[in-house]
């Protein structure tokens, strides 16, 4: 348990409802996320956890409700804005850029910060005419720090497609970190990992949370992990919120036990 001071609310979700045609994915979900905390969203499959993140990311547009980030309130988000506001995200089923090398994948996380325009990039050259090359090198340096942090130096140049699952998950995280996010949304970062990999990953998450003070919103199945590393937990079931509070509070919540813990393991 990290001994850090929890700040005030950064991200606030108010009665979000999301429908696909007839199917209702989310109904009136509200919860808030405080600065520096690790916030977990749990729930059985199809509870709408990923949909929730997709709403925050602006991948899906909820029909009702609003999301406010640092005071600004949005009817629905636009991915670009979200990214600019400093919300990064990893994906449940890997969404890496298979055709690109590890370095390039993580470099894409820096793209928002790249200033030089298309033409400058076109005339990029070693003789520092036009800033493009210098800029590339600067960002590359930052990326190298992340690579060190995630202990994947050896795989730098490898095409991500060829790397084992666990590593790919790390690179996914690395790409998100490259954005220097204030809030980091992690969609099942440990799904399908063995114990060791899980430990590594939770270590990374906590480090990120401590060292960079990044706020973390975490979707996870593994109750053990969740209870260990998260400060507060939201429980979703069939697109409804059935619990919200500290791990212990949630653990003792009747609905949750019946709906979730009861059914799954």
């Amino acid at each position: 348990m990290s001994q850090k001071k929890i700040g005030d609310v950064v991200l606030n979700v108010q009665d979000i409802s999301l429908r696909f045609g007839g199917v209702t994915a989310l109904t009136n979900i509200s919860f808030d996320v405080r600065e520096h905390e690790v916030r977990a969203i749990i729930g059985p499959n199809g509870a709408g956890k990923s949909s929730m993140l997709n709403c925050i990311n602006g991948v899906y547009q909820p029909q009702e409700g609003s999301i406010s980030f640092r005071g600004q309130t949005f009817k629905h988000m636009n991915s670009r804005q979200v990214a600019e506001m400093g919300i990064a995200r990893t994906f449940q089923n890997l969404a890496l850029f298979k055709g690109m090398s590890v370095v390039d994948n993580i470099m894409t996380g820096r793209n928002l910060r790249i200033k030089s325009n298309l033409l400058m990039q076109a005339i990029r050259n070693p003789f520092s005419i036009g800033g493009a090359q210098k800029e590339e090198e600067a960002h590359r340096e930052f990326v190298e720090h992340i690579i060190d942090f995630l202990e994947i130096q050896a795989h730098r140049k490898a095409p991500v497609g060829q790397l084992p699952y666990g590593l790919q998950k790390r690179i996914d995280l690395g790409r998100a970190l490259a954005m220097e996010p204030q809030v980091l949304l992690l969609d099942e970062p440990m799904a399908g990992m063995n114990l060791e990999e899980k430990q590594d990953m939770s270590r990374f998450i906590l480090d990120v949370n401590d060292e960079f003070g990044t706020t973390i919103v975490l979707i996870e199945h593994d109750m053990g992990v969740v209870m260990d590393i998260s400060d507060r937990v939201v429980v979703l079931d069939y697109g409804k919120k059935i619990g919200d509070g500290t791990p212990d509070a949630v653990r003792s919540n009747e609905d949750v036990i019946s709906a979730y813990l009861g059914t799954s393991h």
Binding site: G21, S50, N54, V59, F91, A95
Partner: protein, 309 residues
């Protein structure tokens, strides 16, 4: 007025034929998720086979009834399309399972080039007639009401009704027969279909075969109208907007789309064409489809796609 009717009618008939070709696209796309660019090449190939066989059979067998010769030619050509279907599955699709749609599209581009070459190598590249005894002369209606009357084309009517029959037959095949149901299952979800023991490979062969037959029918109709020649392949390019308009996955879409495109392009050509120098029908059809695409990406009857992350 009379003229408008004629243009309209001509458009409808052309549309019927487009939809027949479009049908081939839809069938294959539904069942294998492949956007079969080779449909046009198949039309040419099938038509060439039909034309040449009906010419050769009397020489080989000494049968001189044209009817018999045509029937045998049809059977042979159909068999040939069966072989083509089998080979395509064997040599191409089988090796490209679970590739992105675009890769498959390019593959079919390759197939179409191959078929074009093969067809002309085997059957030659001149104009060959297909004579299934379609009436050639026009039919005049309402000569009293309008000066000059309204010209109807018997051949078009026959062609149209054959196309309609074909469509009906296919929808029956899809709704009633076991294979049809299997095809629909495959169309809905490959994995699921496989898991309940539907052999994908066989299904694909069947679908391509059926598509081959539609190609053959389309080829015969166009062939007997215009003669069979390399330029038949352009028919496929004319039918693409139809598929886009109707939606890749919808049989009725192909029909309606065909009619809309057919009428649209003919009317545009005869009424707009003269003001802009004519020859607008091809791109008009495409632009029509394109505009439509922007309003409704999944087409007239296509299902909407939601991508999950």
């Amino acid at each position: 007025m009379a003229f408008f009717l004629e243009a309209l009618f001509g458009g409808l008939m052309a549309g019927m034929l487009y939809s027949l070709v479009a049908l081939g696209f839809v069938l294959i796309f539904k069942a294998s998720g492949v956007f079969n660019f080779a449909q046009g090449a198949m039309v040419l190939f099938a038509a060439l086979a039909m034309a040449r066989f009906s010419e050769w059979i009397p020489i080989w067998t000494g049968i001189h009834s044209r009817f018999l010769a045509n029937v045998m030619a049809f059977v042979l050509a159909a068999a040939l399309m069966g072989i083509v279907a089998w080979l395509v599955e064997r040599l191409v699709l089988r090796h490209l399972v679970n590739q992105e749609a675009v890769t498959l599209l390019m593959a079919t581009l390759g197939i179409s080039y191959f078929l074009d070459g093969l067809g002309q190598t085997i059957f030659g590249s001149n104009i060959y007639p297909i004579n299934v005894g379609m009436p050639k002369d026009p039919l005049m209606l309402f000569e009293r009401t309008f000066d000059g009357g309204v010209l109807l084309n018997l051949e078009d009517i026959y062609a149209g009704s054959v196309a309609a029959l074909m469509v009906a037959a296919l929808s029956l095949f899809f709704q009633k027969t076991a294979t049809g149901r299997a095809l629909r299952a495959v169309a809905d979800d490959h994995q699921a279909a496989q898991s309940i023991g539907i052999p994908l490979n066989r299904i694909w062969v069947i679908v391509w075969f059926v598509a081959g037959i539609t190609a053959l029918v389309a080829g015969i109709i166009w062939g007997s109208k215009l003669g069979v020649q390399f330029s038949l392949t352009t028919v496929a390019l004319r039918a693409l907007p139809v598929v886009i308009l109707g939606g890749l996955t919808s049989v009725p879409g192909a029909i309606i789309g065909g009619l809309i495109i057919g009428v649209g392009e003919k009317l545009s050509e005869v009424f707009l064409g003269p003001f802009v120098g004519g020859g607008i029908e091809i791109w008009f059809a495409y632009v029509l489809a394109l505009v439509f695409l922007l309003l409704r990406p999944q087409g007239l009857f296509g299902e909407k796609i939601i991508d999950r992350v």
